[in-house]
């Protein structure tokens, strides 16, 4: 539901699809971006670390939302695709010594290719059968991460150097932040634009009714594969960023649990909404930190909580997802729109 101002009429289709619905939203978005660029000068490393992993999560979640929320293909393999990106980045940068500015897009394209290969079953499979096929992709890729030791380093992992941007080494949270922020802005803007072009409309029509879409002349298979490709590209970039951020890549970061986290991000945030993926990524990334904070308050009195913390965190994660699904099935983005609508008319709502 879009709430617009009284008297704000859309007189053309082009106007309706504009990103900035009003001058006010344009100003507020730009000033928010400026704020994001100034922010790191005032916060400590812990918050920078949080922001960095949030941005990596945002990129992965936006990618998954294009595939699952917009094209309607449920994927349980996003975590593995993030892994492909990370390993591709690590391998290329170690083997060929390329600069990270080249490595990240290359890793993205490699992941896109892998994603398209695993998207091929969508030629024949639909719905649940397809999502289980992506689950298979998850397990097969995890197997490859552990077994293909010559490329991935197996269980011990693969290490690489910090990214080098014209002799500035992105070796701390502060420097990495600006790079991550820039990349996130570019990719989120790109996603927003993909959705409102021909490709995005084709994706939406496949989600809503694929038979009708096919009857209208949309090549379903081609677009499904494209959706897998775009989604995996985002996952790959997220993985490559992760690789440059932690500089050691081990297979346990790309398990089915990660895929489920990405899925919960887009569902809690809001399916099919780019803004939703951002909210979801923030929420799911911060949730364990909040729980850790709460647990820390209690551990002095109840020491057994430290041991049980992993289980409690897991349980809380599950409970939050369940509560969201039961009480706010459309996600945070709907709540956000309601709040916005409230203040738009505040204090004289009609």
């Amino acid at each position: 539901m879009n709430y617009t101002n009284c008297g704000d009429f859309k007189t053309s289709y082009k106007k309706d699809t504009e990103i900035y619905q009003s001058l006010f939203s344009k100003i507020s978005i730009y000033s928010f971006l400026v704020f994001l660029f100034i922010l790191p000068f005032f916060i400590d490393d812990y918050f920078l670390y949080l922001l960095n992993i949030i941005m990596i999560a945002i990129i992965g979640a936006v990618g998954l939302n294009i595939l699952t929320g917009i094209t309607g293909l449920i994927s349980l393999g996003q975590g593995a695709f993030v892994g492909v990106g990370a390993y591709a980045a690590g391998y290329i940068s170690n083997k060929f010594g390329l600069n990270f500015i080249l490595v990240i897009p290359i890793a993205g394209f490699i992941t896109a290719l892998v994603g398209m290969v695993f998207g091929i079953p969508s030629l024949r499979l639909k719905g649940l059968y397809l999502s289980i096929a992506t689950l298979a992709a998850q397990f097969i890729l995890e197997f490859v991460f552990i077994r293909a030791e010559s490329i991935t380093g197996g269980v011990t992992g693969l290490s690489l150097d910090y990214a080098n941007f014209f002799n500035i080494h992105l070796d701390n949270d502060f420097k990495f932040y600006f790079f991550a922020l820039l990349l996130t802005i570019i990719l989120v803007t790109a996603a927003k634009n993909i959705v409102r072009t021909k490709i995005g409309r084709a994706f939406l029509s496949i989600r809503d009714n694929y038979i009708a879409a096919e009857a209208m002349g949309i090549n379903i298979f081609q677009y499904k594969i494209l959706s897998f490709g775009i989604s995996s590209f985002y996952a790959g970039v997220a993985g490559a960023m992760w690789a440059y951020y932690v500089t050691i890549i081990t297979p346990e970061h790309f398990t089915i649990g990660v895929s489920i986290q990405y899925l919960s991000m887009i569902i809690i945030g809001g399916l099919g909404k780019i803004l939703g993926s951002i909210f979801g990524a923030i929420f799911i990334t911060i949730l364990p930190e909040i729980l850790r904070f709460v647990a820390d308050q209690f551990t002095s009195n109840f020491p057994f909580l430290t041991q049980a913390f992993a289980s409690i965190r897991e349980a809380a994660f599950g409970i939050v997802i369940i509560l969201f699904l039961l009480f706010e099935p459309e996600g945070i983005v709907r709540r956000w729109n309601l709040i916005k609508a409230y203040f738009k008319l505040w204090p004289f709502s009609y």
Binding site: R124, K126, I132, L135, A136, E142, A310, E314, A315, L325
Partner: protein
């Protein structure tokens, strides 16, 4: 050759346990249209309850087995009533996510209560294996196969002969029609969850007797996917056949391929096989081909 037969026997045992867990999954999918990602956790809860009863409360294994089944029946019933009932009519992805959420809650509750160490059932069956020809089979294996077979027979009779069973099949084939024939669809939904919880706890208890119990048992829930997809999501026969095929294949991969590449093939091979089959038969071996209209 002997090695092969040993593998085959182990495969049939594991396969039959897969089959019974998959039966629960199929039951839920067939009558309520829900894809249950918490199947493995139902299995886990059942196994731990039975363990608790036998080890802590010193009950006879047979008694604790049936008490567990009763408990799981109520448990499944409540899960449907409290959580799944509210999700009727929601998009499939939300329901999937709900069951994923449930699975992580159950799993961590089990961890909180019983810890993460592997626990074993007290010795119930004689350790001395039976020798048939020159193949040795342990009693646990024989017990597993027999009890799975018994349960499968009970269920096929239940679905064919009893009123409730026929009502469940009716709901599965057409909810609207079933409703207009006076069948209480909501009760059938709850009942399918209850039965699914019961059958997966049977699987859990059996596998617990073979390998011991820890929280990684919930992996079974994911292993069930190749089984049900291979057999066809909504086919009970498919669940059984798929279970046996995947169980045997997995053990063959574990026995012959793992030594060459150094482990891991056992877990990934069923999924590769599943994809290959799906490319040939997109609705699995026995699944209903959906006819869709605009």
């Amino acid at each position: 050759m002997e090695f092969f037969i040993q593998i085959l026997v182990a495969g049939v045992v594991i396969g039959s346990i897969y089959a019974i867990v998959a039966l629960g999954f199929t039951l839920i999918y067939k009558s309520t249209g829900v894809v249950n990602f918490a199947q493995g956790e139902l299995l886990l809860v059942g196994a731990y309850i039975c363990l608790q009863l036998t080890v802590e409360y010193k009950l006879n294994f047979v008694i604790s087995f049936f008490v567990t089944l009763l408990f799981m029946f109520i448990f499944g019933f409540l899960v449907e009533k409290i959580f799944l009932r509210k999700m009727i009519g929601e998009p499939i992805i939300s329901i999937i996510m709900l069951t994923i959420g449930l699975s992580s809650v159950f799993k961590s509750l089990v961890q909180l209560i019983w810890g993460t160490d592997t626990k074993t059932f007290p010795q119930i069956f004689s350790e001395e294996p039976v020798e048939i020809g020159n193949i040795t089979i342990s009693y646990v294996y024989i017990f597993s196969i027999i009890s799975v077979a018994v349960f499968l027979i009970i269920f096929s009779v239940f679905f064919k002969k009893t009123k409730v069973g026929i009502a469940m099949r009716a709901v599965a084939s057409d909810q609207q029609a079933a409703l207009s024939m006076g069948i209480d669809v909501k009760r059938i939904f709850a009942l399918s969850w209850a039965i699914a919880a019961v059958v997966s706890s049977v699987g859990g208890i059996l596998i617990g007797n073979i390998n011991g119990i820890n929280t990684s048992l919930s992996q079974f829930g994911l292993k069930v996917f190749p089984v049900v997809i291979l057999g066809g999501l909504d086919s009970i026969l498919g669940a059984i056949v798929g279970g046996l095929i995947i169980g045997i294949l997995e053990n063959i991969a574990g026995g012959y391929i793992d030594p060459i590449i150094g482990g891991g093939a056992k877990d990934v091979f069923p999924f590769i096989f599943m994809i290959v089959i799906l490319m040939i038969k997109p609705y699995g071996l026995f699944g209903t081909v959906e006819v869709e209209k605009v």
